[in-house]
């Protein structure tokens, strides 16, 4: 059993990280009071702009690592730009946030493939190579823990974990975090206290765009190496992680790790004899069924931000 865990651990982490950063983005948006089911589309945008800029920059710059980081930066910027569409629709125009999110998902998948096809002819954008895994010096020599956590890791993994802890700090220990949370719980009270609810909500949605864009590009530079026009439902899985993690950073970390392991086990089950006896269909639907069950269990004690999804009406006190 232990050897199985050791074997699949690195793959599970690779799968978890994009999910984690995207769900964390969703957390900022929903804590500010805006439902963001556009995460899937924002990830696609990030994957596209990441792949595209790495594809082009590779020919210009010699430093490959720098090119990859610049690609991630481009994905963050593109994610922010695109999330403005959602922020504008749901904050300024009182649009139904779910319809706006759905529209953005559709625009993202259609527009990126449209542009990719025009650029490469096939609709796919390939990058020459992504990040290569490396051992963390000294720490990887520690028995057990070293093998699990510090061997063959990606620099991006540490980067995302750093973002997670900074986010957690910002959310619970800073003035901005308090304001953000208050806008998701009781925006009218927040406004009465002198907070500009629209501005705070804008920052929530834009952060979600930045993180989801990063998440999409991370798939390109660590897993697939190629943009194919989809992130295969990972954005929706991030949304499920957010609910499963009860809108808390550490909860989201636990939920995404759970999904990371569940998906990896499902993917490698055929090559591991102990797991091959379980029908693969059960392993594949497992995360989704568990999410449904979790939704039922949490339905009585849901920690969802109280004002999430509601349009802000300052007269409604």
């Amino acid at each position: 059993m232990w050897s199985i865990i050791e074997q699949i651990f690195p793959y599970a982490i690779i799968f978890t990280i994009p999910l984690l950063i995207t769900a964390l983005g969703g957390l900022f948006s929903e804590r500010s009071g805006i439902v963001n089911i556009a995460l899937e589309g924002l990830m696609v945008i990030g994957a596209f702009s990441g792949a595209l800029s790495i594809h082009y920059l590779s020919g210009v710059l010699d430093n490959h690592t720098l090119v990859l980081w610049l690609g991630l930066l481009a994905a963050v910027l593109a994610g922010i730009l695109f999330s403005i569409l959602h922020a504008f629709a749901s904050i300024n125009l009182n649009a139904n946030q779910i319809i706006s999110g759905t529209a953005i998902n559709m625009i993202a998948t259609a527009l990126t493939v449209f542009l990719a096809r025009n650029i490469t002819g096939s609709g796919n954008i390939r990058i020459s190579s992504g990040f290569s895994p490396s051992n963390v010096p000294f720490l990887s020599d520690i028995p057990v823990i070293g093998d699990l956590f510090f061997t063959k890791t990606y620099p991006t993994t540490w980067f995302v974990l750093a973002i997670l802890f900074v986010s957690s700090f910002i959310l619970y220990k800073t003035r901005f975090g308090l304001r953000l949370r208050s806008c998701g719980e009781f925006p009218q009270a927040a406004e009465a206290a002198g907070i500009n609810v629209r501005k705070v909500r804008y920052s929530g949605v834009l952060i979600s765009g930045a993180f989801a864009g990063l998440g999409g590009a991370l798939i390109i530079v660590t897993q697939s190496g190629e943009f194919t026009g989809t992130v295969a439902g990972l954005g929706f899985l991030a949304l499920a992680s957010l609910i499963f993690g009860q809108w808390k950073p550490l909860g989201v970390l636990a939920a995404t790790l759970f999904f990371g392991f569940a998906s990896t086990i499902a993917n490698v089950s055929q090559v591991i004899p102990e797991l091959a006896v379980i029908p693969p269909i059960l392993l594949k639907i497992f995360p989704y069924v568990v999410t449904l069950i979790a939704l039922v269990i949490f339905s009585k004690s849901s920690q969802a931000p109280k004002a999430v999804g509601e349009t802000f009406d300052s007269g409604k006190r």
Partner: protein, 359 residues
């Protein structure tokens, strides 16, 4: 009327945005659109294909619109289509019945499968207040993986692992008289089913107590409850009907437009249904026309792509942009109000100038 104007303006804005995209990639928009229209409507065969493309969209549009009337957001039409299509395919490949009975059983199987798939989110919503957006998305992926393993496991195609065995022409919704009438198009009986569904759903919504109660629950479920309506029962019923519609849409897609079911794809028509419903202002007749418009865009792009450099994804892009404008219709309404205010000011110069506020 107001809804129609907003929808029309959204369509125009979407088409303009599509034109700008064509300019952006160095193509001529007028040429692009004229090839698109020719591709969709040039001859009888193409008109038939356009209507066939619209058929599943009518079903999913009705499905989403019907749920929406009860205040429910059914994002799960894709999954319901998949299981509906699988059920019909399974019936066609398993039973040896005479054609009319077989078709009837196939349609019923698809209807029941779609309804059951939507029953789960409906039940979870009614009993545990689980948000249907998340639960229907989960059901979509459960359907995706179910098809992924059930089709190769039990109904594997002769040549391809990734699709089911092809149905015989006589086991599909295609029918010789329609195919001949439209010069070999893949138009099929699904279109008639769709028209019947439009009429039935319009009747349910506008003329029955059930429709009234569903709308009441959609407007304010607490008021409806206070008025003695069984809100939970209505939520489940609404999801059942919505799922049944999407299920039959799956039958039309996989055993009418196509004659096999592919694995590894969530049908895009499920998500397009949201667009169709929104553009059709959640009314069955509006849904019908919105679906036909999308049918034109989708079936015309192939020809446009063959004649120009414009990628076929243009259709999806235009539709997505139309939906964004429809979703942000407040912006259009504000513009309309401003326009109206200016017009009435001009007509009545002597009167006091009334500033119209945002509404």
């Amino acid at each position: 009327m107001r809804n129609t104007i907003v929808s029309l303006i959204s369509i125009i804005l979407g088409l303009v945005a599509g034109g700008i995209l064509m300019l952006f990639i160095g193509s001529n928009p007028i040429e692009g659109y004229s090839y698109l229209l020719q591709g969709a409507l040039k001859n009888l065969e193409r008109i038939g294909n356009t209507l066939a493309t619209a058929t599943p969209l009518i079903f999913t549009g009705l499905s989403v619109a019907f749920a929406f009337r009860t205040g429910l957001f059914n994002i799960g039409a894709s999954g319901q289509m998949l299981v509906g299509g699988l059920a019909a395919t399974a019936v066609a490949l398993t039973f040896d019945l005479s054609r009319p009975i077989l078709l009837l059983v196939m349609i019923l199987a698809g209807l029941v499968a779609g309804a059951l798939w939507a029953f789960v989110p409906g039940l979870l919503k009614a009993k545990f207040n689980v948000h249907e957006v998340v639960s229907t998305i989960m059901m979509n992926w459960i359907a995706y993986w179910t098809i992924y393993y059930v089709v190769p496991g039990y109904f594997k195609g002769e040549f391809l692992e990734t699709e089911s065995k092809k149905l015989a022409e006589s086991d599909t919704l295609r029918t010789p008289f329609l195919t001949e009438m439209f010069d070999g198009s893949y138009i099929n009986l699904g279109l008639f089913l769709a028209v019947i569904a439009v009429i039935i759903i319009a009747f349910i919504i506008d003329k029955t107590t059930l429709g009234f109660e569903l709308k009441a629950v959609g407007f304010n479920r607490f008021a409806a409850e206070y008025a003695g309506m069984k809100v939970n029962r209505n939520i489940i019923l609404s999801m059942l009907i919505s799922g049944a519609l999407a299920g039959v849409g799956g039958v039309a897609l996989y055993t009418g437009n196509a004659s096999s079911i592919q694995i590894g794809i969530l049908p895009a028509q499920g998500y397009d249904g949201i667009a169709v419903a929104l553009l059709g202002a959640n009314h069955p007749v509006g849904v019908f026309f919105a679906a036909v418009l999308f049918g034109i865009l989708y079936s015309g792009t192939g020809f446009m792509n063959a004649m120009t450099e414009i990628p076929p994804e243009l259709a999806n892009t235009i539709i997505a942009i139309i939906i964004y404008f429809a979703a942000t219709s407040v912006m259009i309404e504000r513009l309309l109000n401003k326009f109206k205010a200016r017009k009435s000011n001009k007509e009545d110069k002597s009167g006091p100038v009334v500033e119209k506020g945002d509404s």
